[in-house]
Amino acid sequence: MKMMTKITMAAVAIFAMVSVVLLSAPFSSADAGDVADVAGANISWVLVSSALVFIMVPGIALFYGGMLRKQSMTSMITQTLIAIGVMTIMWVAVGYSLAFSGDGAIIGNLSHVFLEGVTTTTTGSGISDAEFALFQMMFALVTAAIVLGACAERIRYTAMVWFLAIWSILVYAPMAHWVWGGGLFDQYLTVLDFAGGTVVHICAGVTGLALVAFAGRRSDRAFKTRAHNIPFAFLGCMFLWFGWFGFNGGSGLAADGVAVNAILVSQISAACAMMAWAAVQYLTVGRVGVLGMIAGGIAGLVAITPAAGYVGIWESMLIGTVGGILCYYSVSYIRNKTNVDDALDVFAVHGVGGIWGAIATGIFARPEMTGGISGLLYGGTNLFVGQIIAVIATIVFCFTVSYLIIWLLSKFMRVRCTEEEERIGQDLAEHGEPAYSM
């Protein structure tokens, strides 16, 4: 068992080495300097967007870590860092290729492993394949990081390394392929997902749920503790909100009116959802706090994600407001009525919010903004049906495969922390590194 985990890390290092041998074909950015100026604005904007999406990742670490007890802060950070490391390498190695090459319905092919043949050359005003790969890479990072909040304080660090590596191939790559890479959904359904409602949020929420289903509840002690550092949780949320401008704004891959619209409706949806959550909590509990408001804001951002390029002002107000209320009651329901210990409400916020967003897109999509595809409101039913099927497919697929992966892993290594380790906290038990010293 000990052996196993050692191999884990060694493998990753070796893995990086191997690439050197594997690849003799040079990366063709030879003509990078000749790029036509007409594409400059788009290049610049998508680079900025990539950076903005990147900053969401530490945002998640702080957002989640701040809400846990202080004995789990280091652990949450290390797991986020490992998500950056593993997903970056896996995406470059095979992920991008599996998601964005070939015509397969289920999965792409290996023609672009290690980004072979992915150049920085632009044609017309579009961005280059290399920039697209970069932007998409950041999405993979964020998705993996979101998952961590659900199963916090339970899954061992080394198990998480392996899980993410395998999950990136078996779950994330196919999902991206189906929605954006010309796969399943594109081929058989009318589906719209502007910035990743299904690929990122539903997928992350459901994966989290699968891990929780497998790993079970935490011991009561960890479960009952209140957030150890509200300012960090707030700061994390603000990074998410800030980064979301790139997440949604960059998803049109151009600095144009679509980007402006996407950012505007994101801001509005987030604000409405935050206020709606606050209002409901105020009416129910009589008090509002930071934790509620930031959860509301995130709920609004999640809900608008698939629709950001396809709806206008009033729809975004509606989507946000409903999103905030819906997620509030989901959190409340899951915490009080079920036995599921989704530590940081990942499913209730990202899962439920994402599902609502996908359906809302099916209802409100404006034909003049989608290139002709109409939402229910404008008389289209294909899209609405497509969205619902896509949501169901995503849920079933992500849950099943994620569960299988972690189950399989548990045959080879210890996946779950013991009760003793849980009590002391992973910071000390696994990393020997308390987050704060007095």
């Binding site: 209140r226 957030a227 909590q281 509990v285 509002v288 706090g289 509620g292 409340s332």
Partner: protein, 105 residues
Amino acid sequence: MKMIIAIVRPEKCQAVKDALKAKGVNGMTITHVVGRGTQAGIKFTNRIGDFLVDEIEKIKIEVVIEDDSNEECVIKTITDTANTGKPGDGRIIVVPVEKFLQIRS
């Protein structure tokens, strides 16, 4: 010699300090503690509602008095200042002290 240990509400700490100073009692040592007693706990807000925490923040004030006749006065001063009449006001513990020395020479 006695050590008077008072466990009071954090928001009363300044008032107790000031009141003791007014009585000429300057030296004291203060510790942040949490306590459980007849006060049932405080409700905290989380994302979706309340939850109860039974460890409530208190301040522990330790005063060593060299002249035992001051005991009553110090206890009364603290009691008067820290009393709000609501559960959670805290306690006073008096323990005997054998020696009380100044390190500085």
